[in-house]
C-alpha cells in the first residue's frame, strides 16, 4: 500500500510542476500586461511598476524567483488588488469555496448512492424511475439554469431562503448553492451506482449468498463493496465538475469565494493571482484523485498489485 501511495505521489508532483511551468510561460507569452489601461501609462511610471513587481527581470529568473517563493508558501502580491497579496485574498475566499464544494460533494455522494441503491433494489420500481428521470434532468438543466430557478422558487416565491449572499456561512445561505452544485452530480452518481449494483447483484458469489439464505442486508453489503469501485473512480471527475460549477454558482448567488478570481484574474492579466488559482485548482484536483486512487486500492486489492510504477 505504501509503495502504491509513493508511486502515485511520484507521478502527481511532476504533473503539478509541468502545469505550473506551462501556465507561467503561456501567460507571459500572451499579449497584454497587468498594467494596461484605457490610457497608456506614463513610461516612467510603467517602468517603475514593472521594476517593483520584478517584471523587468529575465523570464527564467522570474520563474525561478516564483518557484522559490512558492516553496515558502508565498504566492506573491496581487497585481490588480494592489494592497493585497494573493495569500490574503485566498485566505478569505478559499474556505468559503472549500466549504461549498465539500458539502456539495458529500450531498452528491450520499443522496446519489441512496437513490442508486433504491433503483437497483427494484428494477422498474419507483426508485429506478426516479433515477432515470433525475439523470435526464441533470443533463437537460445545466447549473446556470437550475440556480436562477431555485432562486425564483424558494427565494422570491416562497420567501423561505435568501436569494444570495454568504452571511458568514449561515446555513440558510448555504442550502440553495449546495443543492445547485450537488444536483447534476447526484444524477450521475445515482445512475452509476444503480448500474454497478445491478451488475454486482448478478455476480456468482452473490447468488451463492442468496442460495445460502443469507439475510438481505448481508447480501447487499457484499454487493456494495463490488459496486463502489466505478462510483469512487467517478468522484475525481465529479470534483473537477463541482469546481467548474462553483464558478457559476458563486456568481449567481453572489458568494465571495474563489470563483470571481478565476475569470477576473485571467482577463486582467493579474499574473500572480492567475498562477495562484491555477495552482490551487490543479493541486486540489490532483490531491482528490490521489485520495480516490487510495480508496480504490483499498477496496480492490487487484488495483494495488497490478499498477506498479510505470
Amino acid at each position: 500500500m505504501l509503495r502504491f501511495f509513493l508511486a502515485r505521489v511520484a507521478t502527481a508532483v511532476p504533473a503539478l510542476f509541468i502545469i505550473i511551468a506551462l501556465a507561467f510561460f503561456l501567460m507571459r507569452l500572451a499579449p497584454g500586461g497587468p498594467f494596461d489601461t484605457e490610457r497608456a501609462l506614463d513610461p516612467e511610471i510603467a517602468k517603475n511598476l514593472r521594476r517593483i513587481y520584478r517584471l523587468d527581470l529575465p523570464l527564467m529568473r522570474q520563474f525561478w524567483l516564483y518557484l522559490q517563493n512558492l516553496a515558502h508558501g508565498d504566492l506573491g502580491p496581487s497585481l490588480h488588488w494592489r494592497d493585497f497579496t494573493v495569500n490574503e485574498l485566498f485566505a478569505k475566499a478559499l474556505p468559503v469555496s472549500a466549504t461549498l464544494g465539500a458539502k456539495a460533494m458529500l450531498v452528491a455522494i450520499f443522496a446519489g448512492a441512496a437513490l442508486g441503491l433504491a433503483g437497483a433494489m427494484r428494477p422498474g420500481g419507483i426508485g429506478a424511475r426516479v433515477v432515470d428521470g433525475a439523470a435526464i434532468f441533470g443533463i437537460i438543466l445545466p447549473v446556470f439554469v437550475v440556480a436562477p430557478l431555485l432562486q425564483l422558487g424558494f427565494g422570491l416565491t416562497l420567501h423561505a431562503l435568501p436569494v444570495g449572499g454568504w452571511n458568514d456561512g449561515a446555513w440558510q445561505n448555504q442550502v440553495l448553492p449546495v443543492t445547485t452544485l450537488a444536483l447534476p452530480q447526484i444524477a450521475i452518481v445515482a445512475r452509476l451506482m444503480q448500474a454497478a449494483l445491478r451488475d454486482a447483484l448478478a455476480m456468482p458469489h452473490i447468488r451463492t449468498l442468496r442460495a445460502f439464505g443469507m439475510p438481505r442486508y448481508h447480501i447487499y453489503i457484499h454487493a456494495l463493496r463490488a459496486a463502489f469501485a466505478p462510483v469512487v473512480s467517478y468522484l475525481g471527475l465529479a470534483a473537477a465538475n463541482v469546481l467548474t460549477g462553483s464558478v457559476v454558482v458563486e456568481t449567481i448567488f453572489g458568494i465571495p469565494g474563489m470563483g470571481r478570481y478565476f475569470v477576473d484574474g485571467a482577463l486582467g492579466r493579474d499574473y500572480t493571482l492567475v498562477m495562484g488559482t491555477v495552482i490551487v485548482v490543479a493541486a486540489a484536483v490532483l490531491l482528490f484523485n490521489l485520495i480516490v486512487d487510495l480508496i480504490l486500492a483499498w477496496l480492490d486489492p487487484r488495483v494495488r498489485y497490478e499498477s506498479r510504477p510505470r
Binding site: 504533473a15 509541468i18 502545469i19 506551462l22 501556465a23 503561456l26 501567460m27 507569452l29 500572451a30 497584454g32 435526464i136 443533463i139 437537460i140 438543466l141 445545466p142 446556470f144 439554469v145 440556480a147 436562477p148 430557478l149 432562486q151 425564483l152 422570491l156 475525481g236 471527475l237 470534483a239 473537477a240 465538475n241 469546481l243 467548474t244 464558478v247 457559476v248 456568481t251 449567481i252 478565476f262 475569470v263 484574474g265 485571467a266 482577463l267 492579466r269 492567475v274 488559482t277 491555477v278 485548482v281 490543479a282 484536483v285 490532483l286 484523485n289 510505470r310
Partner: protein
C-alpha cells in the same frame, strides 16, 4: 429515411419503432427549422432596440395596447408642448387633435415617426390659425411572442438567432474535437509501446484538470474572443475521442488486412487513413451523438461567464445569463432560452443514448 441509409438495417428498423428516438428527432428538427427560418419571418431584426417596449411580457396579441398608446402619446405631446386628445381609433388609424397656445410647427410631427408605436402622421385639417391640428396616425403593429429583453429587443428573434449560434458552435467545435481526437488516438494506438504510454499519460493528466482551468489559461492567451470557445472546447473534448479511437485502433491493427497492407509496404499514415479510421468510423459516429450536446453545454457555460459570444450577437448561454440577472420581475427572459436549451440537450442526449446500443461505444 430508413431505406436510404446503408447502415445496419436491423438497428435502424428497431430505432424507428423506438418512440423516444423519433420524438427527439422531431424536436431537434423543429428547433433547427425554427432557428433557420424563424428570424426571417419574425419581423424583428435580432439587434433592433425598441425603446418604447422594454421588458414587455410575452403575449400573442399585437402591441401597442390602449395603455401603451396612451403613454406614448402623452410622452410625445409633452415633448412637443401641446395638448393631445384622441377622438377615435379605427382600423389601426388614430385620429388625434393637437392643440397649443401658439401655432404648431408641422415639422415637429416627425416625433411620431421616431417612436416605436406610431407610423408617420398625416395632417387632416388645421384650424384656429394653426393652433389646432387634426392628424391621422397609423399605429405600428408589433407582436412580441416571447416578450422583449431589458434593452427592448424581441426575445423570440434573439432566442432563435442564439439557437443558430449555439447549434453551429456545437457542430463546429465537435468537429474540432473529433479531428484532434481521432488523429491523436489513432497515432497512439498504432505507434504502441512507449509512445502510446506517454501519449495516454498526457491524456490522463489533462483529463483530471477541470474545465475552468482551460478557461483561465486560454482567456489569458486569447482574451474575450469568439475563437476562445472553439479552442477551449476542442482542448477538452478530444480526450474521450482519443481514448476510444486508440482502443479501436489497437483491435483493428491486429486484423489480417492491416498485416497485408504492411506486407505490401504501405506507409503508416496510409494504413491509418485507409484502414484504421474507416473501420472505427461507426464507433466515432456513435460517440459524436454524445459529444454534440456536451459541446453545446460547454459553449453556453463559456458564454455565461461572458467570455464567448459577444453582444449584440448571442447564444443560449448568454440569454440564460441575462435571464438569471433579470429574474426579479421578468421571468420570461430565463424561461424561453432555458426551454430551448433544455429541449435541445435532452433530445440530443436521448438520441445519443439510443445510438449507444451499438457495441463498443460505451461512454466512460
Amino acid at each position: 429515411m430508413n431505406e436510404s441509409l446503408p447502415a445496419n438495417p436491423r438497428r435502424l428498423a428497431t430505432a424507428s419503432r423506438n418512440w423516444p428516438m423519433r420524438a427527439s428527432l422531431a424536436i431537434l428538427g423543429l428547433i433547427a427549422l425554427l432557428c433557420l427560418i424563424g428570424p426571417l419571418v419574425s419581423g424583428h431584426p435580432y439587434d433592433q432596440v425598441y425603446r418604447d417596449y422594454v421588458l414587455v411580457r410575452p403575449s400573442l396579441f399585437a402591441h401597442p395596447d390602449a395603455h401603451e398608446t396612451h403613454e406614448a402619446l402623452e410622452g410625445i405631446a409633452r415633448r412637443m408642448r401641446v395638448g393631445a386628445e384622441t377622438s377615435r381609433e379605427e382600423g389601426g388609424v388614430l385620429h388625434i387633435t393637437l392643440s397649443a397656445g401658439r401655432p404648431i410647427d408641422p415639422r415637429a410631427l416627425r416625433a411620431f415617426e421616431r417612436s416605436d408605436v406610431f407610423g408617420p402622421a398625416r395632417i387632416v385639417e388645421t384650424s384656429d390659425e394653426g393652433r389646432r391640428v387634426s392628424i391621422d396616425i397609423l399605429l405600428k403593429r408589433m407582436v412580441f411572442l416571447f416578450g422583449t429583453d431589458a434593452n427592448g429587443r424581441d426575445l423570440f428573434t434573439r432566442v432563435l438567432i442564439a439557437g443558430r449560434i449555439s447549434l453551429a458552435v456545437g457542430l463546429l467545435a465537435s468537429f474540432v474535437a473529433l479531428t484532434i481526437g481521432v488523429a491523436y488516438g489513432a497515432v497512439a494506438g498504432y505507434a504502441g509501446g512507449r509512445i502510446d504510454a506517454l501519449m495516454m499519460r498526457i491524456v490522463e493528466i489533462v483529463y483530471a484538470l477541470p474545465f475552468i482551468f482551460f478557461v483561465i489559461v486560454l482567456v489569458m492567451v486569447f482574451g474575450r474572443h469568439f475563437v476562445l470557445i472553439f479552442v477551449t472546447i476542442g482542448a477538452v473534448e478530444w480526450l474521450d475521442m482519443a481514448r476510444i479511437v486508440r482502443g479501436q485502433t489497437l483491435s483493428i491493427q491486429q486484423r489480417d488486412f492491416v498485416a497485408a497492407a504492411e506486407a505490401l509496404g504501405a506507409s503508416a499514415p496510409a494504413i491509418l487513413w485507409r484502414h484504421v479510421v474507416p473501420n472505427a468510423s461507426g464507433t466515432i459516429a456513435a460517440f459524436l451523438a454524445v459529444l454534440v450536446p456536451r459541446v453545446i453545454l460547454l459553449e453556453s457555460f463559456v458564454s455565461f461567464l461572458g467570455l464567448g459570444v459577444q453582444e449584440p450577437l448571442t447564444s443560449w448561454g448568454v440569454l440564460v445569463a441575462d435571464g438569471a440577472r433579470n429574474i426579479q420581475g421578468s421571468v420570461h427572459l430565463l424561461i424561453f432560452p432555458a426551454l430551448f436549451l433544455g429541449a435541445t440537450l435532452g433530445a440530443l442526449q436521448s438520441l445519443g443514448d439510443a445510438w449507444q446500443g451499438s457495441p463498443g461505444t460505451g461512454r466512460r
